[in-house]
């Protein structure tokens, strides 16, 4: 795995703060006044059903779609949309990057752009379990291996915050656990993850904190313990908490 500047990361310190993010499509509000923050090395799960506004929120956050309102702050300093790609790297859902190229070519391209050594690239490939399909073209990869490829690309970037849309979609339970381990190891090195997840069980396993989103609005935010306290469900699962709050 690629070592990041672990010394600079401090879990207790707020790394990124989002305020009042709002995105409308005509008369319909897809994301309404969403505010949250993440600390260094934290894994924040944006949890909600399909159509809750998770993808819109992530894409507005990273500046891939224009938001009507809202701001993002990096270590307290405003980060305008054109500069967000300097701090955040987003891995969208449902993309098959460079379908006609071999998986190894796509990994090598990112490694060369971010000046990674062969050893660092090989470690990333090994960590995400991409070795068996390096010689395959991207269009012939299974959904799970395509996910691994995307995760590998994300891990090759030097960004402090990785934003991932449905990172466990296409994995079985064992693969999901393996990928969660990869993400946890990377978070332990100080990298922050914002994950949009619709499978509540996966989210509960993977994330430190949760932002519950439904109908484009924040229904709850906090650790599992905080959410349990808020809903008075002392041993409630994330699913039960979500149902209680929405």
């Amino acid at each position: 795995m690629i070592p990041t500047d672990a010394a600079a990361h401090d879990k207790s310190r707020e790394l990124l703060r989002v305020e009042e993010l709002t995105k409308r499509y005509g008369p319909e509000t897809a994301v309404a006044h969403v505010s949250f923050s993440v600390a260094a090395g934290e894994i924040l799960g944006i949890v909600g059903p399909n159509g809750a506004g998770k993808t819109t929120l992530l894409e507005a956050l990273v500046g891939l779609i224009a938001a009507e309102q809202g701001a993002a702050f990096w270590c307290g300093e405003e980060l305008p949309p054109p500069r967000r790609k300097e701090a955040l790297f987003y891995l969208p859902d449902g993309i098959w990057p460079y379908q006609d190229r071999f998986a190894i070519d796509v990994m090598t391209f990112f490694a060369r752009v971010y000046k990674r050594t062969d050893a660092q690239t090989a470690a990333t490939i090994n960590a995400v379990g991409l070795t068996p399909v390096l010689g395959k073209r991207v269009h012939s990869l299974s959904k799970g291996y395509n996910r691994r490829l995307l995760l590998g690309l994300g891990l090759l970037t030097p960004h402090d915050v990785l934003v991932m849309d449905e990172p466990f979609d296409g994995f079985d339970i064992r693969q999901t656990r393996a990928i969660i381990d990869v993400i946890r190891r990377e978070a332990a090195r100080g990298r922050t993850f914002i994950l949009a997840i619709h499978q509540l069980a996966d989210a509960e396993r993977a994330c430190d904190r949760f932002l519950l989103l439904a109908g484009g609005k924040v229904r709850g935010i906090g650790t599992l313990g905080e959410l349990r306290a808020k809903t008075a469900l002392a041993s409630g699962s994330l699913e039960e908490i979500f149902l209680a709050l929405t």
Binding site: K85, P97, D100, R101, F102, V113, K115, T131
Partner: protein
Amino acid sequence: MRSPEPYRAREAPLAPLLAKELAEIVCGRALWTMLLLVCPLIGYSFVQAVSLYGEASASAQQSPVLAASLSPLDGVLVPTFGAFYVAVTLLFPFVAIRVLGQEKESGALRLLVQLPHRSSTLILAKLAAVLAAWILVSIPAVSALAIWVMMGGHLAASETVNLLFGHLLYGLLVGAIALFAATIADSSATAAIVALAVTIGSWVLDFTLAGHSGLAAVVAQLSLTQALRPFEQGLLSAGLVLGVTSTIAGLSALASVWLPPGVPTQIKCTRSVPCALAILLALCLPTQIRQSVDVTEDRRNSFPAADQRLLATLRLPLIIKVNLVPEDPRYADLQRNVLAKLDRAMPNVSIVVVGSHRDAASQAVNDAYGEIEYSYGARSDINRSTSPREVLPLLYGLAGVQPPPPAPGDEYLGYPLVATADATLFWFVGGLPLLIAGAWWWSRRPPAKSLLTYRGAQS
């Protein structure tokens, strides 16, 4: 406070991006399909051109005058590259659109725009890929030139390079249009419709409005095809080169503006205005910058050298009133033989077309129709000739200078070649396509070195 700038644009290496763009275009079927289609198209044109040139050369063996009219530029190069022009107009947009369309459709564009490169850098890398694609698809046409030389044919370096340069500019212009279309369109299919609407539309514009006067003539000048004409005539025009390169730059700038997905449309429109104005300005450049070089071996765009030198010394304004309509064949003769050459040779020439269609219709009773009035300084004269042999002495008379003595050895003798290129069809429909298919297969192999590198590093 920690900087959120791990990789600024200036630190981002360009080489991987360029390598990726080149590999992307080579991976696509569009390039190879176009190459395979271009082979027989150019081969057939080349064989036909050589055959006609050979027949004309056979007739010219007994006639030096006929031989002097045989130039490989007109006889072989322009027809052969004419087929290439058709292929570039109709097929090259599909190749150029792929450099962006594929990334848009697969979603990879959303990764690409997050890389530490500026939008303009991304577009320039894609334009470089378009240039590389043009070089590859020009291989059949260039191979035709090589065959022509091997057959004993003559190639004048300056006019050949000039023609190739003209086609390169035309190819890049089509590529830039296609790239911009791919940037604004949601899908490759829509981009293809937009790009072909421009290229084929301008083609139609060219032949429907050709020979018309007034606004129709101005509109016809905007046709993309017009960009190639001076190069085919052996002229290297500074205004045209600057106009086309500025248009390519303007379209690339527009593509850079429209590439980032997170910018509101209103802002993109505002940022597009300067680019659009620059393109409009570029379209006007060819008419404003008149400097051009006649690169032909037979100096067809110039008077004899002695006349050129003398005409360049005539500094007073020369006003030419032409009482002909532009559609009149005599006007075309006059334009080609006299007006265009005078415009290049003299520093201050104004041409006024005063002929009307009513005059042309009643020329039997209107004696003035067909007259050409030359005014130089305070003196003027009228004649009806479209030949420089009569016009130049008239001009020298008006300027009060002695005509220069004819320089011996100035004549172009022509390059007749009695030959047939039928056998070369085997190259264009057999050998070259096989080589292309082989190169296609080779380009699709997995990168063995990289696989070994990473598998080795893990073990």
